[in-house]
Amino acid sequence: MLIAVMALVGPWISPNDYVATDLDRILRSPSAAGMHWFGTDGLGRDLFVRTMHGIRVTMLVAIVASVVSLFIGVAYGAIAGFVGGRVDAVMMRLVDTLYALPFIFFVILLMVAFERNFLLIFVAIGAINWLDMARIVRGQTLSLREREFVEAARLTGVSTARIIFRHIAPNLMGIVIVYVTLTIPQAILVESFLSFLGLGVQEPQTSLGALVDAGVNQMERAAFTLLIPATLLAVILMCFNFLGDGLRDYFDARHSQ
């Protein structure tokens, strides 16, 4: 939470701009002087502001990608699971086929085919995450479909769409929410990984992955440029994992009552 708030307000409280370069002060160590709390990078840009900006970009990518995968995955999985039969078989084979595509290869192809842009990262990450979500949702739907309250709804003439959205979907929420909190760190990792390889966010935009990449280049001269973004990345990942654990316990408790 603290990190999220910092990332939101951070760029405003610091006088420095994330693109402003100050070639007089490159690779300064963190200090209060000149308001460079995390120091500056190889181009003299303020690392605090750039880190906060990087967190924003990383979180935005991760959350948008997860939400995208949530909607596609839940709708796709619920339909496949509920309709069943041949529709299910065709839909799930498509998922299997997409799984078989090598992801990095896929992203590089996208980068080559289109301009490098921000949107592509969402598409790329969303495109892998929804596959997992669809599988999980389909499995849950298959077991929910056999539940007696669904049979009762079919008997009374409730429409298929209403059964999926009123009877199946709400009962999927527990596992879906938990799973989303687990896909967010996964998306963060993937984004960082892409940026680290130079395939992700492009300058002057930045993300935690890109900062770590830059930090690696400066490692011998200024270790803090690597350590600060890397530590924050690790802390964020841990936070989301704890959040996932907590939510899972919450939903378990409700069911056991």
Binding site: E151, R154, L155, T156, G157, H167, P170
Partner: protein
């Protein structure tokens, strides 16, 4: 001195007292029944005696076993007592047996770890014990994994492992509740036969079992003993009000009370219905009809196809052959393709009310949902009013509208499920084991509710049940199914007075009667239901039938009329 002497047993979880000052005495060789409805604390008391309660339970009082205080004993010394001197059997043998070990090996492990025999002797002892509990071909079966055995066979293995050390006391917690009635009779007989000098503490909700097999009984209500004494005198004398309530609520298979027969027009007729699941023929050529205002019971053990039959009639599972005619209209295809009116008139109530209600919806939403489909003209206020009226009819107050299913008791949840089915004003209500999961007194209330709705509205009811005593009390006509076939169909009166099919006769005899004066007969049927994947030739019942001859294994009997009863048997009659 008693073998087991429990005094003032109190069990608390936090501020919740689940057992309050219970006394239990068991003499050597005696059988004692611990009776009560769910939540009465009977299982908790048994677990306390065994020292198996979870760590957060606070236990007070005194538990003396053979003069030795065992409450608060160390786990190690309890283990010795539990293994050598107290045996235990639980309701679900699948949970109590290790799924990764062959049953013979599990017995051997018990024998070796308690030094009951030498290593080279152990296998032999295990097989001997399995033979003693009536496992057919024990040599071969000892190499089976638990999942390869039927429920009855697994319970036999459990009994073998509980009794192999020849304990002084056997504690059995609902040992036959999960079993079919003919298998239950076999297991109860076995329990009686091989007990020798072992005392028995039998925990059960079934008064019939206690009346037939226990010398003493203890009645629990909400964690307190309300009655204790010899079984015969508790059944005979005017005991505690709760005991009387329990006895009054237990239906008897040996006594009539059938509702007056109705003679009205046929509303539903099913002809030559068949249901296949791939290679498995779950229902084979079953025909029956339902008249207006009539209750037709479908009885049979698990795997008899009774649920598949009505699910096919409703269009929830595909019907392989046959036709369903409902007041002149042919119903076929899955339920989604049927006309809304046709769907409206046939409604279903399920066995487990908890899984039949969407856990994420409030009672009001659950009950009114079908009105949205069938009465789209109704406004929100009118819908609410009809839900309130319906709930009132099933005996629930207005305050239940905002509840979620997990905030309801089993009986309340089943009433909500019935309200949901009845709000469309159906002509036929199908109850699939609708009272099987309920406690005796609640079951009696729900049955009364169904009867009064029927009297009021002329509703027809198809009542699926494995419990013949309940069937006798509620149905006009009875269909008996075995392995997917209809073996006998008759009106209530004649079916229970003069059952013609040997299977029907055995079923009726297997039901324990809640009256110690009626001596329980020996289990009338041996063996268990064969696999549906590989049904016996000719009459499917012939391998278990006492009257079977060569003709029975050659030719399949067809249903024929016999004094107003339809029966499929080569040798019908008493």
């Amino acid at each position: 001195m008693s073998l087991l002497d429990v005094t003032g047993l109190t069990i608390r979880y936090g501020d919740d007292t689940v057992v309050a000052g219970v006394d239990v005495f068991v003499e050597r060789g005696e059988s004692v029944g611990l009776v009560g409805e769910s939540g009465s604390g009977k299982s908790q008391s048994a677990l306390a005696i065994l020292g198996l309660l979870p760590k957060n339970a606070r236990v007070d009082g005194s538990i003396e076993f053979d003069g030795q205080q065992i409450l608060g004993e160390s786990e190690k010394s309890l283990n010795t007592i539990r293994a050598r001197r107290i045996g235990m059997v639980f309701q679900d043998p699948m949970q109590a047996l290790n799924p990764y070990l062959r049953v013979g090996a599990q017995l051997k492990q018990i024998i070796l770890s308690h030094g009951l025999a030498e290593k080279d002797e152990a296998s032999h002892r295990a097989i001997e014990m399995l033979a003693k509990v009536g496992l057919p071909d024990p040599e071969r079966q000892s190499r089976a994994y638990p999942h390869q055995l039927s429920g009855g066979m697994r319970q036999r293995v459990m009994l073998a492992s509980a009794l192999i050390a020849e304990p002084d006391l056997l504690i059995a917690d609902e040992p036959t509740t999960a079993l079919d009635v003919t298998v239950q009779a076999q297991i109860l007989d076995l329990l009686e036969d091989i007990r020798d000098n072992t005392a028995l503490l039998l925990i059960t909700h079934d008064l019939g079992v206690v009346a037939g097999y226990c010398e003493h009984m203890i009645v629990l209500e909400r964690g307190r003993v309300v009655d204790a004494g010899p079984t015969t005198s508790l059944f005979a004398g005017p005991g505690h009000a709760h005991t009387q309530r329990l006895i009054a609520a237990a239906p008897r298979v040996d006594r009539g009370g059938a509702p007056a027969p109705v003679s009205a027009s046929t509303i539903l007729s099913v002809g030559d219905a068949a249901v296949d699941y791939d290679e498995l023929h779950a229902v084979v050529n079953v025909s029956f009809s339902v008249r207006k205002g009539e209750t037709v019971a479908v009885v049979g053990e698990s795997g008899s196809g009774k649920s598949s039959l009505v699910r096919a009639v409703l269009g929830l599972v595909p019907m392989a052959a046959g036709r369903v005619v409902y007041s002149g209209e042919t119903l076929d295809g899955p339920v989604e393709t049927r006309s809304l009116d046709g769907r409206r008139d046939l409604q279903l109530v399920f066995q487990d009310p908890v899984s039949a209600l969407n856990p994420q919806m409030r009672v009001q939403t659950i009950v009114e949902e079908s009105l949205l489909v069938h009465e789209p003209a109704l406004g929100a206020a009118e819908r609410r009013a009809s839900v309130v009226a319906m709930l009132e009819k099933v005996g629930l107050e207005k305050k239940f509208l905002r509840r979620f299913p997990h905030e309801l008791s089993g009986g309340q949840a089943q009433r909500v499920a019935i309200a949901r089915a009845l709000i469309l004003d159906p002509k036929i209500l199908i109850c699939d084991e609708a009272v099987a999961a309920l406690d005796g007194t609640v079951r009696a209330q729900v049955l009364d509710l169904l009867r009064s709705v029927q009297e009021e509205t002329g509703l027809s009811i198809v009542f699926i049940s494995h419990d013949l005593a309940v069937v006798r009390s509620i149905s006009h006509r009875v269909l008996v199914m075995y392995m997917g076939r209809l073996v006998e169909a008759a009106n209530n009166e004649s079916l229970f007075a003069r059952p013609a099919h040997p299977y029907t006769q055995a079923l009726i005899k297997s039901v324990p009667v809640p009256d110690p004066v009626v001596a329980p007969g020996r289990a009338p049927l041996l063996g268990e239901v064969p696999s549906l994947l590989n049904p016996p030739s000719g009459c499917v019942f012939h391998p278990r039938c006492p009257r079977a001859d060569a003709a029975c294994s050659d030719t399949t009997p067809v249903l024929r009329d016999l004094d107003g009863t339809r029966v499929a048997c080569h040798h019908p009659g008493n």
